[in-house]
Amino acid sequence: MRVILALTVLILGSTGGEIAITHGMKATGEPVRLRPLELLRFLGRAVRNGWFWAGVPLMALSFYSLLVLLSWEPISLVIPASALSYVVGTLGAKYILGEQVSAARWAGVVLVCAGVALVAAG
């Protein structure tokens, strides 16, 4: 039970954090050119966005629950189970960020999720 709870915090924390950061980055807008000075200005704009700072603690929470999980269960169970975040993240992208997830993209996400689980299980 506590494993399922920690896994839920791990997956929702990382995808929630990444979705918040994606939202913040879309509001920041892309850098005009990929040159050092332009990139510095771009990062300055990014860290002044509230959504970025909403994402960081969520990702820290997720990392903490990963550490806790690793102290209870073997890594060969924890990492494959966390591969579910590919599916959860895609659901979030579709329903929260409003991205269009085509059938091809869904198929790719499911293959990646299964593949990562198999690779991490060894």
Binding site: E18, I19, I21, T22, M25, K26, A27, T28, G29, E30, P31, L34, L39, F42, L43, A46, Y86, G89, T90, G92, A93, K94, L97, G98, E99, Q100, V101, S102, A104, R105, A107, G108, V109, V110, L111, V112, C113, A114, G115, V116, A117, L118, V119, A120, A121, G122
Partner: protein
Amino acid sequence: MASERRLRIKTLIMVLAMVVCANAGDLMLKRGMSQIGAVQLTSAGLAQAFRLTVTNGTIWMGILFLTGFMLSYMTVLSWADYSYVMPAGAFGYALLTFLAVIFLHESVSPRRWVGVVLICAGVMLVGQTKPRTTALASEAVA
């Protein structure tokens, strides 16, 4: 569709930068931590581990690469879909397996090879979709 092509190319470059930085960073951290040795979970042991990690050059290289990963991730998300970048980044797991076989001569189980094939197929499928499906910030305002 010159802009579409440009979008694909710059997204591909940033995803590659992400994957290379994440893998190199993890590798450096692992190497640095094995130089330090197993950490004792006592206050003296943790203080000792802290001193050794902040003075270890390999650890700092690892932190530098992981910072590079975070910056390239943030940059690519400023123009590309999260549901495009996130699965594409999983290519790193496949790359790590190839590197382990070529350079470390590790033996890889059939189950892991099946996983690598699934990841590559999945990344190719996602890669064929449009990198961006939401409106640009400037378009949304107009």
